[in-house]
Symmetry: D2
Subunit: 266 residues, 4 copies
């Protein structure tokens, strides 16, 4: 009497490497590197993104480096271009990261529009993405939830497209699941929601829509107990993935209703 | 720079027994007892609710009993009064369950209004609850999300109050989190959302509101892959609980907004 | 190429009188009677509800009476039992109103549960409704959005059933349109949303669901400009009614999608 | 005891002309020109947008022209570039319109991404907007709800920016009020929601957010009764405007709650 069909799983592969975890966490706003490590361990994430302009990975030899606390042998480091507001700045920052990290090609590109809203600047992002792909980088790219821009970033050769759920640091959740749905309908690379998650159910919803993963920073780092929230997020992402694979029951006004709710009521 | 406070955990205790799992699953709509057992195991639930009028626990000696497949030593059985539309019927059914199960006092009371919508009949529920409590039962009670009715059921002596998220079998999720919130503000017994969960994020949201647990049947039994959905639900409930304990970040229009969103925008 | 069907209009008839306006406004929280009158005129309402325990309709001969400002010749006065927390109190208050208003039989019954939440006490409401109907009153009755209680109030003989959209004074809008929908499916008397409206679109949504009218007080009286908000509400109610009669277009993910959205996505 | 402040009204001025109506309707999908005229009259709109590639305004001398039925003396015609998928096509179409309409400079620019979703192509839109503004057109521009793109279109010199509520023909309403809010915070030209409205309350909500106007086509043309829906939309837009001007009451969990709801609950 099942009404739904379940789906086949496929692993998350990024730049040739397979990940068991579909959660990527950040390295900003933590009390210190130790808390960041504790959250990382609690989250089960295998990848951590780092703002190359803000976090010391050896740029400054006189201060402690995150690499001393979080091992690049154990975790994939994803350098990002946070703080860049032009394509040129973002490209320069990625090259700096590559040099610093001995030829590391994987980067997360983000080009923001202004310091107030931190909304992505999609036209500069397109320019930067083209240059970085041409320059041999494996580009995971942060963008708005515009389905056409998402598709163009894929066509340019980005290896993952990362639409926002809501603005960075807003905690508003997936504000427009319809756009995420449209992005997913057309995608052939992994779609990973980046930004906007505020609590566990937001991450679950992203995965239930069919996304391949979720990246978050503030939701963990600014929770009352970041390490416990990291643990919640690990389960939230797996839970949403399993629910999507399992295939949910239909929605009805009540059980005996003859047809699923078709959106024409409200 | 954390903006939120985390909360202290306290265990879920029902009728003197402490439960690690905050998920209760059902025994209807499964393909067979084996599938039910597999879902139960995947869900991590320690309690299973059984419609005493529909599921064979020994009433019919010529047919297989659920007790042969799911061990009452290992799991707490929660007999329920599904199919009862009057207080009298519900009380009679609970007494039958007690006899059948050698004095078992724990029951889930549900008195429904009609077969079409399966919405709870709160006035009959109040009558039945009084009689059952007076008769020595430990009553967990299914009800609407009316905060006054919920409080009265607690005052009558029910050991847990179980408001709906949405009608039984609808899969609509928590339709009115505001009412659940009002119920929680006044409760001194465990509040467990019962009915309405359709997918994993619904369960997570119930727990993020501060509920003590979630009961569900159709969301698992009518998923495309019930056992996988049961696994999703286990994580969804724990995830929501951990997020509630951890304390979520505030919501803002964007990160630099000076105040959290105050509901006056929209 | 129209996809929808329009509906036939039928007039709003209450206690044998036909109303052109489907909006009912209140008489609490205004700066003074003059502002109340101005709002009433701007709203186009033909009926005004008055808390018989709070507003002077002649009970106190030494103070100004609302009847001196708002003419009972021109407007239907709907005495209500605001401030009553038991059936007995509500019944007594209605009888007092009838005496005061020379045999006026039309009343709005409300029995609330507590002063904090102002949520309706449905069991006391049922008791009072039975007594008032037996006593010859034309009872319009405020209640929760519980579809069974709504139906019972109709069966008792109430001439209109008035479910809340959200708690009195909350301004939260129609929190659970699904329940309102269930109430409408079974109703043979007018269903009028009472309480919860916070802004114009809330009233429009109530009417688009198929309700026969809307009653509101705080949304107008506590707006920045009550008279202008009253004008907005007049149009909001008519607009929602016309949209419901006209029959809305279907919802789709995008125009070329082959089927309407069926609620299984999100 | 008012909690809110009302706002000062200011007229809607587009290309030097003041409009009383804040509703703009379309000319597609109607049964015939007569129905379109009837809807226009019922809507109270003073401006009608016309797809210059699809609707005969004299391009084809052998067929009836819309101008024979809807008077350009009485209504402002807003030629649009529906059906254009590149900047070059859109610019060419606007020039054709100007020629056809004797130097008419007012146009609505839309450059879409694909025929399936009709989502706007924002990069081509930027290119076309620059060329059209340089060429002396008064450009009202359809775009996504990306706040940075909206601001750039304003900076280019467009006289009104028209973000979508949802994709053309979807009827999904304002899917992301947060982005519309962000657009409004920064705008100095009129912001007019274009596309996505499905029913009256959607238009009201757009206006309650503070938009200067609403443009719609399918919601009227594909309603069961287009002329009645046009009447509903007239009131919906005025209602929403008045509510925004009046200043709505705050939202609370219940009336006695000490603070408005701050979005941290849910």
């Amino acid at each position: 009497m099942q009404n739904s069909e379940h789906r086949q799983d496929k692993p998350l592969v990024l730049a040739g490497k397979t990940y068991q975890s579909r959660l990527i966490i950040g390295s900003g706003k933590y009390a210190d590197f130790q808390q960041n490590l504790a959250a990382l361990e609690a989250s089960g994430a295998e990848m951590i993104t780092v703002a190359i302009r803000r976090v010391n990975l050896g740029q400054n030899k006189d201060e402690p480096s995150l690499l001393d606390v979080i091992s690049p042998e154990k975790y994939t480091f994803l350098p990002n271009t946070a703080g860049c507001y032009t394509a040129a700045d973002a490209v320069r920052t990625c090259r700096m990261a590559r040099e610093l990290l001995d030829g590391h090609k994987l980067v997360k590109l983000e080009v923001l529009g202004d310091q107030k809203t931190l909304y992505p600047n999609v036209t500069e992002t397109l320019v930067a993405a083209e240059q970085l792909v041409a320059d041999g980088f494996d580009v995971m790219v942060y963008t708005s939830d515009d389905p056409l821009i998402a598709k163009r970033l894929e066509e340019i050769g980005c290896i993952a497209v990362m639409p926002l759920g809501a603005p960075i640091g807003s905690g508003l959740g997936i504000r427009n699941p319809y756009n995420i749905r449209m992005i997913l309908e057309n995608a052939t690379v992994p779609i990973i929601v980046d930004a906007g998650v505020g609590t566990a159910s937001d991450a679950t919803i992203a995965m239930e829509l069919g996304c391949e993963g979720v990246l978050m920073n503030t939701a963990i780092a600014e929770a009352g107990d970041p390490v416990l929230m990291a643990s919640a997020m690990q389960k939230a992402v797996i839970s949403g993935r399993e629910a999507w694979l399992a295939g949910r029951m239909p929605r009805k006004l009540y059980a005996s209703a003859s047809s699923p709710i078709d959106g024409t009521f409200f």
